[in-house]
Amino acid sequence: GALVYQYPRRTICKSGTSMRMECQAVGFQATSVAWYRQSPQKTFELIALSTVNSAIKYEQNFTQEKFPISHPNLSFSSMTVLNAYLEDRGLYLCGARVSLGGLEQYFGPGTRLTVL
């Protein structure tokens, strides 16, 4: 079955520092990976959609300068939160889309970011 791993599961960083999170698809090839942030109020924000061999599409209010993403192959993606501040806290979810499948996404367990 389709599995998505994310690392780390939890992280704490000081305000103004950066942290990197990883997303790994196991057992399938992910044609695309979408990064979301789930706020403490549980709303979902789409950060960006990353498709191998295509430019990464960032949503309004999210930029490459703040959330650089690397997507080198069909099973791995990483995103960094640069200069993290309090408003960046939340659960960062990676959703991987199965190649040749429907448009649904399989989510990893998320990386919970706490900013002090």
Partner: protein, 113 residues
């Protein structure tokens, strides 16, 4: 751009009563894909239902939904709520491979004995 509107906030039900969580959407595209995801406490969202066929009922794990393009709706229903159905439910919309699903604000379902 695309948007999804769900029943807001918290829905509290007594076990055994029917469940109906509303979802409507807006998109300029004629072939939307609609999804319902369920997220239990301390877990990641899990796909519950999906549909892209107009007026066709889709079912899974006792839940069902029908995409109605005429009313831009994809309401989630279940005939009899169970305690284990307590969770966050998200409706999501996509329309092609170049766009990630957009989620509604989520509806928290709480089922009481």
């Amino acid at each position: 751009g695309d948007s999804v509107t769900q029943t807001e906030g918290l829905v509290t039900l007594t076990e055994g009563l029917p469940v109906m969580l509303n979802c409507t959407y807006q998109t300029i595209y004629s072939n939307p894909f609609l999804f319902w995801y369920v997220q239990h406490l301390n877990e990641s969202p899990r796909l519950l239902l999906k549909s892209f066929t107009d007026n066709k009922r889709t079912e899974h794990q006792g839940f069902h939904a029908t995409l109605h393009k005429s009313s831009s709706s994809f309401h989630l229903q279940k005939s009899s709520a169970q305690l284990s159905d307590s969770a966050l439910y998200y409706c999501a919309l996509s329309h092609n491979n170049n766009n990630a699903p957009r989620f509604g604000a989520g509806t928290k379902l709480s089922v009481k004995p």
